[in-house]
């Protein structure tokens, strides 16, 4: 199997497109952001919430949500946490390196579902990455929405990602940022506690609010419950779930979740659609 087959240019969804890393940004310990440009120069169109399958040649392929601005398709942005062998190898790549991209895949955040409503974003640590394109787009179209609140939690004050964005968003008069950390050194003036407390503090009109939640699955239920206490019912809560997507196109079976394949029918779901199966253990 080692002879070089004939080069073919085609729209085979299993073949990656070469992209060049143009810049590497260290976010926090073990988390880095890549800015990428297609080697063929073509723009990369996507919608907030979609993900790519990212290949480091010779190492492997992983799903990574897109964290850039969908209005700037000339630059693809991925934020990656080194937690396994592939992501650890990726952490060693420098600007100029070539990686493979397949995508965009998956169901995007339904931004139109929030038009005319208050919007609350609930997330923590690297969960801000998949929400960032949506937040940017909501702020682009700020007049379409009511209040905009961002609840973002991290482990400590050195684990805050996208700090520049958070500062910029916080500086806007039309956006509320509730940043919370689990612990901080004495004298820290910010909020310390769980994301749930930030949701409780958010100034939103619950029954007229749409929530976009990106937390680990262990915490998604808590976020939905806390939003429920604020009057945001599950039919207005959009969450992302996580399975081990391998093909990204619904053909390999790995990310099956009941009647859906997360890679094409998700990873964004309205919580009431999945509530029953979500509570079945090991499903």
């Amino acid at each position: 199997m080692d002879a070089m087959p004939a080069p073919v240019r085609h729209a085979d969804p299993m073949v990656p497109r070469p992209f060049r890393i143009t810049r590497v940004i260290r976010e926090i310990d073990g988390v880095f952001t890549w800015r990428l440009a297609a080697v063929d120069g073509a723009p990369f169109d996507f919608r907030p919430g979609q993900f790519n399958m990212v290949t480091q040649f010779g190492v492997g392929e992983i799903p990574v949500s897109i964290s850039g601005d969908c209005r700037r398709p000339e630059t693809l942005v991925h934020t990656i946490r080194a937690v396994g062998p592939v992501t650890e190898a990726m952490q060693g790549l420098r600007a100029g390196a070539i990686v493979g991209i397949r995508g965009p895949f998956g169901r995007p955040w339904p931004i139109d579902a929030a038009i005319g409503s208050d919007v609350i974003f609930v997330t923590s640590t690297i969960g801000l990455a998949p929400l960032r394109p949506l937040i940017l787009e909501v702020l682009h179209r700020r007049q379409d929405f009511g209040k905009v609140v961002i609840c973002y939690g991290t482990r400590g004050i050195h684990d805050i990602m996208f700090e520049e964005d958070l500062h910029a968003w916080r500086a806007r008069f039309d956006t509320n940022v509730h940043l919370t950390v689990h612990s901080a050194p004495s004298g820290y003036r910010g909020r310390v506690g769980g994301v749930a407390a930030a949701i409780h503090a958010a100034r939103i009109d619950g029954p007229a609010t749409v929530a976009f939640v990106c937390r680990s699955e262990a915490l998604t239920r808590q976020a939905v419950n806390t939003l429920g206490e604020r009057g945001v019912t599950p039919d207005r809560v959009w969450v992302t779930l996580e399975r081990n997507m391998k093909c990204g196109i619904g053909l390999c079976g790995h990310c099956q979740f009941g009647p859906s394949f997360m890679c094409k029918d998700g990873p964004v779901y309205r919580f009431d659609e999945i509530e029953a199966l979500y509570s079945v253990r090991e499903f």
């Binding site: 080194a82 923590s124 689990h182 050194p185 004495s186 820290y188 909020r191 749930a196 407390a197 915490l219």
Partner: protein
């Protein structure tokens, strides 16, 4: 001189006292006083007698745990409308952590000795106060557990290896 009637109104406006029976309110108000703390002030410190509990009217209070070999760690902050301090209810009535004002903090401070005496004498009053404290304690406990889950399940990032 503290104006008791004014305090009763202030107390009634706090979420802790929402829908409270006027008689109970009046009794509690008798143990109540206003207090103001400046940024950095301690409201109480670990090991001191727990002789009060606090209803925050304005401001942010940091609950800190003293770490013998380093700076104290803030583990939770509380804000307008919240209550804190339950060591006053449980023997030996000593604070188990520090509480410090993050900014200018206005609180209603309830005298614990006064309240404990009234609660012993009036079990219905005691029940009413426990009924209002327990849900707050339970919610804080549940939220602390979820915070443990969050910290325990967050993947441990692999640090970049230094080059060379």
């Amino acid at each position: 001189m503290v104006n008791i009637v004014g305090l009763e109104d202030t107390l009634a406006a706090h979420p802790f006292a929402a829908d409270m029976d006027p008689d109970v309110l009046r009794t509690i108000a008798g143990c109540c006083s206003n207090a103001i703390y400046h940024p950095g002030d301690y409201l109480f410190r670990e090991g001191e007698p727990a002789d009060a509990f606090f209803l925050i009217r304005h401001g942010q209070v940091a609950l800190e745990i003293h770490v013998p070999q380093g700076a104290p760690i803030v583990v939770e902050t509380l804000e307008d409308g919240e209550i804190f301090g339950w060591s006053w209810m449980l023997a030996p009535y000593t604070w188990s952590n520090d509480a410090r004002a993050n900014d200018q903090v206005r609180v209603l401070k309830l005298d614990a000795t006064c309240l404990r005496r009234k609660m012993e004498a009036d079990r219905a009053l005691g029940y009413e106060l426990y009924r209002r404290f327990l849900p707050v304690m339970a919610q804080r406990l549940a939220s602390s557990r979820m915070r443990i889950v969050e910290l325990a399940t967050e993947p441990r990032p692999i640090r970049a290896r230094p080059k060379g």
